[in-house]
């Protein structure tokens, strides 16, 4: 049997196996769908499947490969992800499907007339879309305890949360259902599930990837990005997703800057530091353990102060609530009872915030950007934990973090919010503390805006050293 058919194979292996004729795209798809069928009743990662489309895409890859071989042409034209199954958070438009964004309210919306920009990018690279994934309603949460569609379960312990809001995206990869998924991250919604499910995640620079064709949450802070079962798979997906998009006012990238072809393990010459202060104060012993292991592996003992982290989290909280509340105000007026009980009160509170609060937060963001960019004059990569703790039990209301009681659902974003508010790119590396009974806890690898390549270099080194890796989930 081809290694690519292993349920925990990675996207790069799968694409290579298809090129080499070891396996067909249809065979890979059939394996992925069988895995979903066998496991998703327990995981609840998928809210819908797109099997007819998936078989059409897989068969098109197989037919194209045959045609290229027949003509004696290069198989490069197949695309870097040819035949690789993947799935998307259900806020991405899929042509012919209703974009739920985790809600029941959106069920009455018309079907999408076109794929989201990034789904088109994945299709152009040959990837095969198998379905849409569970999430917190309208992305307002860190736990994917979705009341309408049921909680998404962590594949490493079904009684625990998968994290959120891209919980289905993290769980589907961790469960070996797909080697790649797409999510969104406003305040940590890729990095939190990547950390809690033990998979690789990328929140790119704000403005790197087009958000067109996805259901928004907070226009000022929304990012999109991939999750994967390997760092090479993550890099391939990231490269495939890149393209300038003049029709998204938040897409600032003017050209593609690929990383996969030059992905090398490298800490030589890089100035790497570990965040202290706020980030250490909000990290449990297990979180500190994995950060220390990453630092040792990278050969650094430097401790770095990230300015204004607490203020940045406050400002992100205020902007999130205000923009989110405003976005849904019409539905709050007319369909209040249909909202997710876990987040509706926050949406209302956000809609009622005085303008002064929002404006002050946006003004702060400008000076904050300058302070963070100044920090990267002295450092190339900064490391901190992605979540304060490993995955809590589903339904947990309060967490004790270093002696302080924190509301669980908000606290999961304590370490991610200050970083995304600055817009810096972050690769989340899956790591495994010794004190969490087999549950993962990820590390954020943070670089200056537009320097995803540096974060990937450190990620590759942690992967090659064997300290950051995806482990099979047994359930």
């Amino acid at each position: 049997m081809s290694a690519a058919l292993n349920q925990h194979g990675d996207a790069a292996q799968m694409a290579a196996a298809i090129r080499q004729g070891e396996v067909s795209a249809r065979e890979l798809l059939t394996t992925s769908l069988a895995r979903i069928e066998a496991t998703d009743a327990r995981i609840n990662a998928f809210t819908s499947q797109t099997q007819e489309r998936a078989f059409a895409e897989a068969d098109a890859v197989d037919a194209r490969r045959s045609a290229l071989l027949k003509k004696g042409e290069s198989l490069d034209a197949l695309g870097a992800l040819a035949g690789v199954p993947y799935a998307v958070k259900n806020l991405y438009d899929i042509v012919g499907e209703v974009t739920l964004a985790g809600s029941v309210i959106n069920r009455s919306h018309p079907s999408a007339e076109a794929d989201a920009f990034l789904v088109k990018q994945m299709k152009a690279a040959g990837a095969v879309l198998v379905g849409a994934l569970n999430m917190d309603e309208y992305a307002y949460g860190f736990t994917t305890e979705n009341t309408h569609y049921g909680p998404c379960h962590n594949p490493h312990d079904l009684a625990r949360i998968s994290g959120g809001s891209s919980g289905g995206s993290g769980a589907a990869v961790a469960a070996g259902q797909v080697p790649l998924s797409l999510g969104s991250d406003t305040n940590g919604s890729i990095r939190v599930p990547a950390s809690l499910c033990g998979v690789w995640g990328l929140k790119p620079t704000f403005g790197r990837l087009s958000r067109r064709g996805t259901y928004p949450f907070v226009h000022s802070i929304d990012h999109l990005g991939p999750m994967a079962s390997s760092v090479t798979g993550l890099a391939l997906a990231y490269d495939a997703l890149q393209a300038p998009d003049a029709h998204d006012p938040g897409c600032h990238a003017l050209r593609v800057q690929p990383v996969a072809a030059s992905l090398q393990p490298s800490s030589t010459g890089l100035r790497i530091g570990v965040l202290n202060g706020y980030f250490d104060d909000h990290a449990s012993a297990a979180a500190r353990e994995v950060v220390a292991l990453a630092a040792r592996t990278m050969g650094t003992t430097a401790s770095v102060h990230w300015p204004d982290a607490g203020l940045a989290r406050a400002a992100a909280f205020i902007i999130t609530a205000s923009e989110g509340g405003s976005l849904h105000l019409d539905d709050l007026r007319t369909q209040l009872a249909s909202f997710e009980p876990l987040s509706v009160d926050r949406f209302i509170a956000g809609a009622l915030q005085p303008a002064d609060w929002y404006l002050r937060a946006q003004r702060f963001r400008r000076i904050y950007r300058d302070r963070i960019n100044a920090l990267f004059a002295d450092w190339d990569v900064l490391i901190t934990a992605a979540t304060p703790v490993s995955a809590p039990l589903i339904g947990t209301e309060w967490l004790d973090i270093n002696g302080t009681q924190q509301p669980c659902r908000a606290a999961m974003g304590l370490l991610t919010q200050p970083v995304s508010f600055a817009g810096c790119p972050v690769v989340t590396a899956p790591m495994w503390p010794t004190s969490t009974h087999g549950m993962p806890l990820g590390v954020q690898i943070i670089a200056a805006p537009w320097r995803e390549d540096l974060a990937f270099a450190v990620a590759r080194q942690l992967s090659d050293a064997g300290v950051a890796q995806v482990k099979p989930a047994v359930f």
Binding site: V259, I318, Q353, R360, R363, R369
Partner: protein
Amino acid sequence: MNEALTLQYVKTTAELLMLPLEEAQAARVAVYLQRTAAMVSLLDSAGLSAHDELAEIYCPAPFPAGDPAGPSV
């Protein structure tokens, strides 16, 4: 802003925005708003001057002219 004032604010502004809230929900919303108010007070220490403008459609840094990581496509 104390609890009673916050609750009063919630009820008044919700009415202004034509948001129908039951008493229990208004009370829960007031709890969230008080939590947000505490965060706003943190921003008082940011030292904003009159010349500190809003972030535009946010761009963390200009897109680089060159490609430090390798060839562009």
